[in-house]
C-alpha cells in the first residue's frame, strides 16, 4: 500500500488546486502566470535531477531558446501561438537532445562542467548574433496575439491560457514519470551499472530524458517571453539555469508537484522580500543551507513531516523521488 502523499493523483490535484488558488491569493496576474511558467521549467528540471540523477546547469539554454523562438516567430512570421509553441517545443527537444548526447558521455563533476560550458557557449552565441537575438537589449516587442478571437493582453486571461498549458504539460510529465520509461530512469539513477547490465540502453534513456526536459523548458521560455513582452538575454544565461536548480532544490525533488512548490515559494518570497530588504538573496542563501543540512526533501519534505506528525508515520530521509506507484498498486476500494 502506498502512502497517501505519494499518490500521483494527489500531486495532480494539488497542481490543479494551485492553479485555482493563485488568483485568490495574488493580486498580480503577471506574477501568477510567472509562477506557473517557472513551475513548468522546474518540473522539467526535476525530471533530470530527481528522476534521472542528472545535475544539469544547461536548463537556461532551453528556456532562453524558447524565448527567442517565441520572439522571432511572433515578430517575423504570421504563425499562430499554438504553432509557435510546437516549434519551440521541437527546438527545445532537438537542442536538449544534442546537448544531452554530448554531456552524458561524462559523469559526475565532468558532466556538470560540460553542461556549464554549453550554457556559456549558448549565452555568447545569443550575445554575438545580436541581429537575430537583439544582443544585450534582447528581442523587444514580443506580442501576445489573441487566441481564436480571445485577447490575451489582460494578465488574467493570459494566466488562464498558461494554466491550461501548465496542467496539460504537468500531466504529460507525470505520465512520463509513471511510465516504464520513467521507472527505468529511476533505475538508472539508483544504479546505472546495474541498469546497463540488465540491458537498458542507458545513454538513449538519458538523452530522451534530456529531450523531454528541454522541450517543456522551451515551452516555458516561450510563454515567459510572451508574458513580459521581451526575450531578454538574461533568459539564456547561466543564472537562469542556477535559478531553476535552486527552485528545484527548495521545492524538493521527491515528485513533480514539489517543483510547483519550489517555483511558487521562490518567486513569491522574492517579490515580497526584495521590496523590504535589498539583500534578500542573503536569506535565500540561508534557506539553501538549511535545506541542504536539515531538509533535503525541500518544502515537500516539510509537508511530509507535518503529515507524519499527524499520522505518526516515519518519513523517508532519501531526497530523491520515491518510485512512483503503478496504478495496479493502488489500494482497492
Amino acid at each position: 500500500m502506498i502512502r497517501i502523499l505519494d499518490r500521483p493523483l494527489l500531486h495532480f490535484g494539488l497542481a490543479a488546486a494551485t492553479v485555482l488558488a493563485l488568483p485568490l491569493l495574488l493580486r498580480s496576474g503577471t506574477l501568477a502566470s510567472e509562477i506557473l511558467i517557472y513551475a513548468l521549467a522546474v518540473a522539467a528540471c526535476n525530471l533530470l535531477l530527481g528522476y534521472t540523477g542528472l545535475l544539469s546547469f544547461g536548463q537556461g539554454i532551453f528556456f532562453g531558446l524558447g524565448s527567442y523562438v517565441a520572439g522571432l516567430l511572433l515578430l517575423r512570421t504570421p504563425l499562430p501561438v499554438p504553432a509557435m509553441l510546437i516549434v519551440a517545443l521541437l527546438a527545445g527537444a532537438a537542442t536538449a537532445a544534442a546537448v544531452g548526447w554530448l554531456s552524458i558521455r561524462r559523469q559526475g563533476v565532468y558532466f556538470v562542467m560540460l553542461t556549464l560550458a554549453f550554457s556559456q557557449m549558448f549565452y555568447f552565441l545569443a550575445y554575438t548574433f545580436s541581429g537575430l537575438t537583439g544582443g544585450d537589449n534582447g528581442l523587444l516587442d514580443v506580442p501576445r496575439p489573441a487566441l481564436a478571437g480571445v485577447p490575451l493582453s489582460d494578465p488574467w486571461s493570459y494566466y488562464a491560457y498558461v494554466a491550461v498549458l501548465f496542467l496539460g504539460l504537468f500531466a504529460a510529465l507525470q505520465r512520463v514519470a509513471l511510465s516504464t520509461f520513467g521507472r527505468t530512469l529511476l533505475a538508472i539513477r539508483d544504479n546505472e551499472a546495474r541498469a546497463r547490465a540488465i540491458g537498458f540502453p542507458v545513454r538513449a534513456f538519458k538523452v530522451a530524458a534530456f529531450a523531454i526536459s528541454g522541450a517543456v523548458t522551451a515551452v516555458a521560455g516561450a510563454l515567459h517571453a510572451m508574458l513580459i513582452g521581451v526575450a531578454p538575454l538574461s533568459n539564456i544565461e547561466y543564472h537562469t539555469s542556477e535559478t531553476l536548480l535552486i527552485m528545484t532544490i527548495i521545492g524538493g525533488s521527491a515528485n513533480l508537484f514539489a517543483s510547483v512548490l519550489g517555483a511558487a515559494a521562490y518567486l513569491v518570497a522574492g517579490d515580497l522580500l526584495s521590496a523590504i530588504w535589498p539583500r534578500w538573496l542573503l536569506l535565500l542563501g540561508l534557506i539553501l543551507i538549511v535545506i541542504a543540512l536539515f531538509l533535503q526533501r525541500g518544502l515537500w519534505g516539510l509537508i511530509e513531516r507535518a503529515t507524519a506528525l499527524v499520522s505518526r508515520r516515519p518519513v523517508s530521509e532519501d531526497s530523491a523521488p520515491d518510485r512512483p506507484a503503478l496504478p495496479a498498486e493502488e489500494p482497492q476500494p
Binding site: L25, T30, D136, N137, G229, P232, L233, G270, P278
Partner: protein
C-alpha cells in the same frame, strides 16, 4: 456528501479570497495620493545606485507634497537589474493604477519598461544610456534625461583634441555590446573629422574583469591618449589597472562615460588625479536648482548629491510637476505637458525635445584634481568643459510610435 464537499469548497475559497488581499501585499498608498513608481535595481549588483536613486525620488516627492499640500508618494519597485523582473513588476504596478515611472538605470531593463509603460498608457522617464531609447526604439510614453553616446563623445573627445593638438594617436578600449559600439562609432567619426590616428582598439566582453592584456596592447601601440569606453565597475577596474601599469605617466587617460561622485569615491583621489572624465552630472555645476539641492542635502544629510540621487530627484520632480499641470497622471495629457517643456534643471536650462523625448542638456568634461587641491571630501574634479551635442531625431533613428 456532495453537498458537504460543495460547502467546504465554497467556504474555503470564500475565506481565502477574503484573506488574500492582506496576505501577500501590504496596503498601497491611498487612492488620493499622487504615486510615482520608481523602478530601480534595489537588490543585485547595482543596488548601491538604486539606493541613492530611491532616496532622490523620495526627496522630490516629499518636497512636492509639502508645496502642493497633497500626498505625493514614491513606490519603490525592485527590478533586480534584470529586464524580466522589471517588466513583470511594472506590469503589476500599472495593474494597480500607477501611471508615472521614474527609473531604469540599466539600458536593457529601461528599454523593456519603456515599452510596457507606453503600452499601458503611462509615462516612463529614465536615465539609461542606450541610444535606442530615444533612437530606433523611441515611443510616445518614454522620456530620457541622460545624454546619449554621440553627445558624450562630442563633449569629451572633441574638446580634448582641441586642447591637446599634439596628441594625435588615440587608443580605445571598448565593451563589445550595443552601448560600447555606440561610443566607439561616435569616437571614430570625430577621429576621422579631426585627422586623429586611431592606433588600435581592444574589445572586451560584458563580464570582463581583467584588463591587463588590453592595456599591454595599448602600451604596445604607443598612443598619446587612452580612451576608455566602458562604464561602471568595468571602467573603474580598467583605470585601476592602467594606473598600476604606469599608463598615467605615459599618456593621457580619458573615461568617456563616468558615473561621477560614486565612482570617484570608490577610486579615490590618487587614481583620479590628472584623468579626464565625461559625466552627465556633477554637484559643482553652477545652476540654481543644483545649488539648492546641494545646499539642502549638505545641511540635512551631510552629503553631496551623486548622479543616481540627482537624476532620480529631477525625473520625479518633472513627472510630479507635469501631473500637477496636466491635472491627471494619464499618458496623453502627461505627454502633452512634458513635450517641448523648457525648465531650469540641474545642469542649467534643459529642454524636452518633442520629436524624440530626449532631454537636451549639458554633458561635462571633468579632470581629477590632486588630493591636496581638494576643497572638501567630495571635491574630486574640476569642470573643464560642458556643452550640448545631440543628433537630430531623424539621424538618431527615432520614428515616434
Amino acid at each position: 456528501m456532495l453537498h458537504r464537499r460543495a460547502f467546504l469548497t465554497t467556504t474555503s475559497l470564500a475565506a481565502a479570497s477574503l484573506a488574500a488581499p492582506g496576505l501577500l501585499r501590504g496596503a498601497r498608498a491611498a487612492e488620493t495620493a499622487l504615486v510615482v513608481g520608481v523602478p530601480l535595481p534595489i537588490s543585485g549588483a547595482f543596488a548601491a545606485n538604486g539606493k541613492f536613486a530611491a532616496m532622490g525620488a523620495a526627496l522630490a516627492a516629499e518636497e512636492a507634497g509639502a508645496a502642493l499640500g497633497r500626498k505625493v508618494v514614491t513606490r519603490d519597485i525592485d527590478t533586480e537589474g534584470k529586464p524580466a523582473p522589471a517588466a513583470r513588476k511594472v506590469q503589476e504596478a500599472m495593474g494597480e493604477g500607477t501611471r508615472l515611472f521614474a527609473g531604469g538605470i540599466l539600458s536593457s531593463e529601461a528599454l523593456v519598461m519603456g515599452k510596457e509603460v507606453a503600452k499601458g498608457g503611462g509615462v516612463f522617464f529614465t536615465t539609461a544610456g542606450a541610444d535606442e531609447i530615444t533612437g530606433q526604439e523611441c515611443n510616445r510614453g518614454t522620456f530620457r534625461w541622460s545624454v546619449p553616446t554621440y553627445g558624450a563623445i562630442a563633449q569629451t573627445v572633441r574638446p580634448l583634441i582641441e586642447q591637446m593638438p599634439q596628441a594625435k594617436r588615440w587608443y580605445t578600449i571598448t565593451p563589445q555590446y550595443v552601448f560600447g559600439e555606440g561610443l566607439l562609432t561616435a569616437a571614430k567619426a570625430v577621429f576621422q573629422e579631426k585627422g586623429i590616428e586611431h592606433v588600435g582598439n581592444s574589445y572586451h566582453s560584458l563580464a570582463e574583469k581583467e584588463f591587463s592584456g588590453y592595456l599591454t596592447n595599448a602600451i604596445a601601440a604607443k598612443p598619446d591618449v587612452l580612451l576608455i569606453l566602458n562604464f561602471g565597475s568595468q571602467s573603474s577596474d580598467t583605470l585601476r589597472q592602467a594606473v598600476s601599469f604606469g599608463l598615467k605617466k605615459r599618456m593621457t587617460i580619458v573615461l568617456a562615460w563616468a558615473s561621477g561622485l560614486e565612482q570617484f569615491e570608490a577610486l579615490g583621489p590618487d587614481l583620479c588625479e590628472g584623468v579626464y572624465f565625461g559625466a552627465q552630472y556633477w554637484h559643482g555645476v553652477d545652476a540654481p536648482l543644483n545649488k539648492a539641492l546641494v545646499a539642502k542635502l549638505r545641511e540635512t544629510r551631510k552629503m553631496s548629491p551623486n548622479y543616481s540621487f540627482a537624476a532620480s530627484y529631477l525625473l520625479t520632480k518633472l513627472l510630479i510637476d507635469a501631473a500637477t499641470k496636466a491635472g491627471t497622471t494619464e499618458g496623453p495629457a502627461m505627454i502633452k505637458a512634458l513635450e517641448g517643456l523648457t525648465y531650469a534643471g540641474l545642469t542649467g536650462e534643459e529642454e524636452i525635445r518633442a520629436a524624440d523625448h530626449q532631454v537636451i542638456k549639458n554633458y561635462y568634461l571633468l579632470k581629477g584634481k590632486a588630493k591636496s587641491a581638494m576643497a572638501d571630501k567630495d571635491d574630486f574634479v574640476d569642470i573643464v568643459g560642458s556643452g550640448k551635442s545631440f543628433l537630430t531625431p531623424e539621424a538618431a533613428g527615432c520614428k515616434m510610435t
